[in-house]
């Protein structure tokens, strides 16, 4: 495989969730989502309602990738933040290394506050994610994944139901 898998252990996951919870409160946001640049949702906190956060994550990554492509065309490395303002709901995305911090907010907050609070947690998120990447590399080297002994039958059984 091109890359070894990213492993998110429970402790790190709860660390991330705690940062998201704090950010949501401090920014008076509706929802905070942490997304990998490839489109995978890592963690979410806030008022989910009927919102399809899997699609939101994939589209956010596509959005960042597309604007990143535009940035390169005009000679920039990337655009570190993106904002989309709607009539009632708005979205702010910060690019933090290989992850994206997405904040959904309404008129209980403001773009300025969301930007400020997002920036304040970005270092902590970058640090935690660096630790996750280090954990992942160590674990995959040790062959300690629970999938090391998956049998062909187990894989086949996933496809036995229509």
């Amino acid at each position: 495989m091109a890359n070894s898998p990213i492993l998110i252990r429970e402790q790190r996951y709860h660390q991330i969730k705690a940062v998201l919870a704090r950010l949501r409160l401090d920014a008076s946001a509706r929802l905070v989502v942490l997304v990998d640049k490839d489109g995978q949702q890592i963690a979410v906190h806030g008022e989910l309602g009927e919102l399809d956060t899997t699609s939101l994550a994939s589209l956010a990554a596509g959005n960042v990738a597309a604007t990143g492509g535009m940035a390169k065309l005009i000679g920039e490395r990337e655009f570190p933040t993106l904002s989309h303002e709607g009539e009632r709901e708005s979205i702010h995305i910060s690019v933090i290394g290989r992850v994206l911090l997405l904040v959904v907010f309404d008129d209980r907050s403001s773009l300025g506050l969301v930007k400020l609070r997002s920036k304040q947690v970005s270092q902590e998120i970058a640090r935690t994610f660096a630790e996750i990447e280090r954990d992942s590399q160590q674990s995959s080297g040790e062959g300690s994944l629970p999938f090391g002994e998956i049998t062909d039958e187990e894989i086949d059984s996933l496809f036995s139901q229509p």
Partner: protein, 194 residues
């Protein structure tokens, strides 16, 4: 890039359907979407032009079941096939865990298949991936049309590394799940090696 979350007990993998314009990539996804139980799938997102040509990507999450207590979730993407969407096509390949190349079996699309396959290898290389090392399946689509190249000849021309070759008619669903199964199986088998 496979994501394994121990807290939510989930494995998330990314599979990309690649191929020339109008070869049936979106049709593959549409069939999977239509034939899957509601609880196993999310929304099918299609960023398409007004004439239904894929502009950026199609996306659908699909949950297959549980392995060793972990839910396996596959994120299926298609790329836009037309040559001039090169920039967005490249973006979708980032972090890919497995690729399906959908070839159009019609004689007149042979050159387009070869160009697209070459383009796939080039684009993978820009991210440091090698097609030879990636879980990969070759699907020969549109086998129901009258002017198709014999499957063996297509395989000789397009097969790269002894990858599984699946004959398909995506519009009726023939071969669609066989293709998905073949690539998903390779992706999960790769996890064993990690």
């Amino acid at each position: 890039m496979t994501f394994i979350n121990y807290a939510s007990r989930e494995i998330n993998c990314k599979i990309v359907y690649y191929g020339p314009g109008l070869c049936g990539k979106t049709t593959n996804l549409q069939h999977i979407y239509d034939s899957t139980a509601a609880q196993a799938k999310g929304k099918l997102i299609s960023l398409a032009t007004e004439t239904d040509r894929t502009l950026f990507f199609d996306f659908m999450p699909l949950e297959l079941g549980t392995v060793r207590g972990f839910k396996t979730r596959f994120h299926l993407y298609t790329v836009p096939g037309q040559v001039f969407y090169e920039a967005s096509r490249k973006l979708i390949l980032k972090g890919v865990d497995g690729v399906v190349f959908v070839a159009d079996s019609q004689e007149e699309r042979m050159d387009a298949n070869i160009e697209s396959l070459y383009n796939l290898e080039e684009n993978l290389r820009t991210y440091g991936y090698e097609l030879m090392k990636l879980p990969y399946v070759l699907q020969l689509n549109k086998r129901d049309l009258p002017n198709v190249v014999p499957a063996n000849d297509l395989a000789v021309e397009l097969q790269r590394k002894g990858e599984p070759v699946v004959e398909a008619v995506a519009s009726t669903g023939v071969g669609v799940f066989d293709t998905l199964k073949a690539v998903a199986k390779q992706v999960l088998t790769e996890l064993r090696k990690s």
